[in-house]
């Protein structure tokens, strides 16, 4: 409880208790680890407490003029300060002692006061208060920690890109529904030049602040690498991977799909670092798995060369990207949503707007999960290619 002396308030209209305490505790008072304050009735006691918010232990007689000890107890119970009271009463005065205990007294002492008993009771009271304060501090730290985690989540969420207004060429929508704990899902889209649109979806291993930081760094690195001397998605990932591996002692990794849609041709060039393969939703309701490039997650294997692949989107086709928060969403019986349910749902959404695709899929997942707790971020992005931009 710090270096300042622990303060105890003694309330008694007679001098004998005050004298006993001043004498018996003189060493500890002199050493500065205990400080006693004195009041002569309940009303005075309340005033002393008001002026000394550091007092947590009160030793009070019952029979006193102006305000008796039992009334004082009731007032202490209503006060905001968390004060423990020890009641002093005549030996055999069980009725008052019981009333006092019922009103929340921590303990009682009987007169004539036995010094050892007094000392033990004060020690016990102080220990109790220390334990309580430690518990309060722990709670405060937890509250502070929770606030930091909330802040981390806010920071992470603020890094999601601004909505890209749909036009006659493209229609892009994405959503993250975060789980309770700050997680590590990420989506991003940005123009590499005026006709090529970069698309990113990713999921970092683990949760909490380290995961959120790793996600944020990955996003920044990928944007930086892709906007400077862009060649192919795989080249970008090879570079980002090496940068991430340079300092990653805690073996955090991220699964990430990076595609670049050429709006002049509808060609999607991409590389997939261990992420769930996206889907190409064709206008005739076929749902195609975007073939893997067979590459490892980012952040663990320095020097790994990422491979590139291409698929063709026709006008009206939609690329659907997601994280395992969708396919591994669990209902209350721990059944998983699975890719099969996702594909079935997507098949019904051919030709729909990206907004509708996202909403329908998320609704289906949430309906499936029902009352079960959402354990992971749910993230998905729909990118509809509408018509080629003239070259």
């Amino acid at each position: 409880m710090g270096k300042s002396p622990t303060q105890v308030l003694v309330v008694d209209d007679e001098e004998d208790l005050e004298l006993l305490i001043r004498q018996k505790f003189r060493r500890r008072i002199r050493e500065g680890n205990l400080k006693f304050l004195f009041a002569h009735n309940g009303k005075e006691a309340i005033e002393v407490l008001k002026e000394n918010p550091e007092i947590y232990l009160v030793l009070s007689d019952i029979n006193m003029p102006v305000m008796d000890g039992l009334t004082l107890l009731s007032q202490l119970a209503d006060a905001e300060q968390d004060i423990q009271a020890v009641i002093v009463s005549a030996y055999g005065d069980m009725k008052n002692i019981r009333t006092a205990m019922n009103r929340g007294a921590f303990d009682f002492l009987t007169k004539p006061i036995d010094f050892n008993d007094l000392e033990a009771t004060i020690e016990k009271g102080l220990k109790h208060i220390q334990a309580m304060q430690a518990a309060l501090e722990t709670r405060d730290r937890l509250v502070a920690l929770k606030q930091e985690l909330d802040m981390a989540r806010d920071v992470q969420m603020s890094f999601q890109p601004e909505a890209l207004p749909a036009n006659e060429h493209h229609d892009v929508k994405a959503v993250i529904i975060p789980a309770r704990e700050v997680g590590g899902d990420l989506y991003d889209f940005f123009f590499i030049d005026e006709s090529r649109l970069g698309l990113v979806i990713a999921d970092v291993s683990g949760k909490g602040v380290p995961a959120a930081l790793f996600t944020t760094v990955t996003r920044a690195l990928l944007r930086a690498v892709a906007s400077k001397d862009y060649t192919t998605p795989s080249d970008c990932l090879t570079m980002v991977n090496d940068l991430l591996c340079e300092s990653n002692p805690s073996c955090i990794f991220i699964t990430l799909f990076f595609g670049v849609l050429d709006l002049r041709t509808g060609e999607l060039s991409y590389s997939n670092a261990g992420h769930n393969p996206p889907r190409a939703l064709r206008t005739d309701s076929r749902v195609e798995v975007v073939p893997k490039t067979g590459n490892i997650v980012l952040g663990v294997q320095p020097g790994h060369t990422y491979r590139n692949n291409q698929i063709q989107l026709a006008p009206g086709d939609t690329l659907f990207l997601y994280t395992d928060g969708i396919t591994e969403a669990e209902d209350s019986k721990s059944a998983e949503f699975m890719e099969s349910r996702l594909d079935e749902r997507l098949a019904d959404l051919a030709g729909a707007s990206s907004e509708r695709v996202i909403t329908d899929v998320v609704d289906a997942v949430q309906e499936f999960v029902g009352d079960a707790v959402q354990s992971d971020d749910i993230t998905c992005m729909a990118v509809r290619f509408l018509a080629a931009v003239p070259s």
């Binding site: 999921d203 970092v204 291993s205 683990g206 949760k207 073996c251 955090i252 990794f253 699964t255 670092a273 261990g274 992420h275 769930n276 393969p277 893997k292 067979g294 590459n295 490892i296 997650v297 663990v300 294997q301 395992d324 591994e328 721990s334 354990s375």
Partner: protein, 116 residues
């Protein structure tokens, strides 16, 4: 804790390796159990570990990270980590994430022991 989150790790010792049988579900809430089991073996000087996954029902990315750390830790001690008996859906998780490229995966425990 609910039954489905239960994870247990049993250790068996052979003259060539310590086999860790991972039973149940490795996810964010249970990964600590796996991590401490690995640490315990390494601290005890057992630096060649075979993870037997025949009773592993699910592994999340947090679990994969723990495997990666186990592989690194054993390497550092001049030992190694092998992984065997993956059910199809577990093998798929390894394949999608590319972990099959960097972890030493064997079909059966006998294969893993034979590879030592």
């Amino acid at each position: 804790m609910e039954e489905r989150y239960k994870l247990s790790v049993e250790a068996e010792h052979s003259d060539k390796a310590t086999i860790l049988i991972v039973i149940g579900r490795v996810d964010g809430s249970s990964v600590g159990i796996l991590e401490s089991a690995v640490q315990e073996q390494i601290n005890a000087g057992h630096k060649t570990l075979i993870f037997d996954f025949k009773d592993l029902s699910y592994i999340s990315s947090a679990g994969l990270r723990a495997l990666l750390i186990a592989a690194r830790l054993t390497q550092k001690e001049d030992g190694k980590a092998l992984f065997c008996a993956l059910a199809d859906h577990i093998a798929e998780i390894f394949e999608i994430s590319g972990f099959n490229e960097i972890l030493d995966i064997r079909a059966t425990r006998a294969d893993a022991l034979g590879a030592l």
